[in-house]
Subunit: 382 residues, 2 copies
């Protein structure tokens, strides 16, 4: 099997290193995977050409590359360019493997449709939960079960940041700065802390487990409103907050949301350390499953890309069920709100906080402004 | 694809129910799976023949069945008979799927050898961790990684019993009796509480991840020595004990052991509720992964059997690496012992308990009798 690796940043390098390290094992077991081409930007190509024994080419050679290879591993991290690379590969009947959650989330229906039409693998294990093998088992679970819910912590930056705030009792801004210094948060942290990265991953889980929805329309709130007072209040009560993505089928569609959630401090999502991710899947027959591991990083993500490359090479991925278009249903829940709320939405007040009765998220949003912290209560003890 | 289902007890029924419930989906996606035969005991065959639309036959028809089917799903729970059914199927070039950890553990090398020689799938996802998809992803992980350790809680009875003791502060005998009444423990609980069931599952993980070892020789200690005093002592210190299976490659072989282990109360294995199982896998590239879910039960186990049937039908399981014979290496650790130990093995005493320095398990056993509780300390805070 001949492979073209597109992009040689963190994920590309991780993928390359693992393929090289496991070369003999892959030769013995799946018949060998030759890295035939590395497609790089004009700027990188010259440097990489000196560094790597493989043939390094640029975008202008891509059509010729597609004629020769069986699998494209897209690892650019780009958006439009990645979409173009993937689409052209699938249209040419070449299998596509990618870690690119943004491009897959934005173009899932189209890319998956072309892959089905051309009957070639289109795999993106690394796009959700980094190194965790979760999308691959989820494909199988969808054949055996109606999926009753998916839920998870899908963003390592937020998990690390929240854990640090609970451990150190520090304020949000100081902790974010620390995370940036340690490399756990980007210089522009918007995508992570506002929940957009989590939303894209939840969108992919929904596409696999439930059907096609508008990913950008999934209600999303991040963690930027969290502060030391909220952490102290929760710590005293043996509670924790995490940024949780959830989706489940309900009567009028899919109830999906990304928002802070209050969990009992001993919940498996609450104790999730460092930047670890976890995906919980509930199947009608299998019951509650959890998949836990590193959600990012060169080698974990590379591991997932290589796993997909092997799947594509051996055509062993389970088919995705065709599920049609689904509507996003209104979200409701009991909420902890960092504000005194008048009227009948309050179940009770605790100091400066309100605990609401079960209300629609929309109603809640109408009562607060964008700087007011709120979190859905899933804990049994608040 | 034609399937013969052998045995119609809990696992057989679960498998049958799921195949029936998902019949149309499987037809659309993997091309259909016909349950052509159900092989039952003489005693059951007549009853089942009236109950089921499928052709119910007995052992005497098995050779004829093998000529017609592509896959045998063995769900008898028996030992020698199950081995015979599986061996004959594999020799006839028929794929074998099983939930039978005892028969697979006892005959792994031979059965897997025949399967490789005949190039037919031999799959046993349901034999470790019940419904949890773990052996299937582990096959892939072994291609991409050197596996650095496997560890887990692999027996739901022990997990339930220990959780109940910690929750209720009750004694071992009373809790076991309660577990038996609730159906969480067998009338003869030996296999579970002495760790033998856990040992078989650890053995299968070792065969997949590291190489061939004598499963019966894995050092094993169960939980029957646990009592209320030990639970109180650990509760006071924020510690918990669980029956943990562990294996890792070391210089002189594979260090493998099943024994009670002290964990920090917030460890993911410590908080594992009810009869839930968890398998932790550490890969050289991917890092630490955990797979969590129901370790037993009709539908979870049936789910895993059906997953393997689909894998066998589509020939999509990853190949197992050939790893050769490995030696079991001596086990060592720091231990909590419910006895005052004289001499230089003690790091310190706490009341009636001794906490040892790192010693060999063999030395520890020479200092205590079979009724003395001990547990290896993995917690960082004891």
């Amino acid at each position: 099997m001949k492979l073209a690796l597109i992009g040689f940043g963190t994920v590309g390098r991780g993928t390359y290193d693992i393929l090289k390290a496991r070369e003999n094992i892959l030769k013995d077991t799946v018949g060998g995977l030759e890295i035939a081409y590395i497609v790089a930007s004009d700027r990188s190509a010259e440097r990489l050409g000196k560094e790597l024994p493989e043939k390094v080419v640029t975008a202008k050679d891509y059509d010729a590359v597609l004629e020769e290879v069986d699998i494209v591993a897209e690892a650019t991290g780009a958006m439009d360019m990645a979409y173009d690379y993937m689409k052209r590969a699938l249209e040419a009947g070449v299998a596509v493997v990618t870690a690119n959650k943004a491009a897959v989330s934005a173009h899932f229906e189209e890319l998956n449709g072309i892959a089905e039409e051309k009957d070639v693998p289109f795999l993106f294990e690394a796009a959700v939960g980094g190194g965790i093998p979760v999308l691959t088992p989820l494909r199988g679970l969808c054949l055996e079960n109606e999926i009753e819910s998916v839920q998870g912590i899908l963003n390592g930056t937020c998990n690390y940041l929240i854990n640090a705030m609970f451990k150190e009792g520090a304020e949000y801004d100081a902790t974010l700065k620390l995370c940036q210094e340690l490399g756990y948060a980007e210089q522009d942290p918007t995508d992570d802390v506002e929940g957009f990265d989590t939303r894209r991953k939840l969108h992919l889980l929904i596409e696999m487990a439930f059907g096609h929805v508008d990913g950008d329309a999934i209600p999303t709130r991040g963690i930027a409103q969290l502060n030391g007072d909220i952490v102290s209040f929760l710590n005293e009560k043996g509670q924790k907050v995490k940024l949780v993505a959830s989706a489940k089928p309900v009567e009028d569609g899919i109830e999906a949301v990304v928002e802070p959630v209050i969990l009992d401090a001993a919940d498996s999502l609450a104790i999730l350390p460092d930047a670890i991710n976890q995906v919980n899947v509930k199947g009608s027959f299998v019951g509650d499953l959890a998949f836990t591991g590193p959600g990012a990083g060169k080698e974990p993500t590379g591991n997932a890309v290589v796993a997909d490359i092997i799947s594509a090479a051996t055509k062993s991925a389970m088919p995705l069920l065709k599920r049609g278009v689904k509507k996003l249903a209104p979200v409701k829940g009991r909420y902890l709100v960092a504000k005194k709320l008048s009227g009948d939405v309050a179940e009770r007040e605790e100091g400066d906080f309100t605990i609401t009765r079960e209300i629609s998220r929309e109603e809640l949003l109408s009562l607060i402004d964008k700087d007011t912290f709120f979190a859905r209560i899933e804990s049994q003890s608040l």
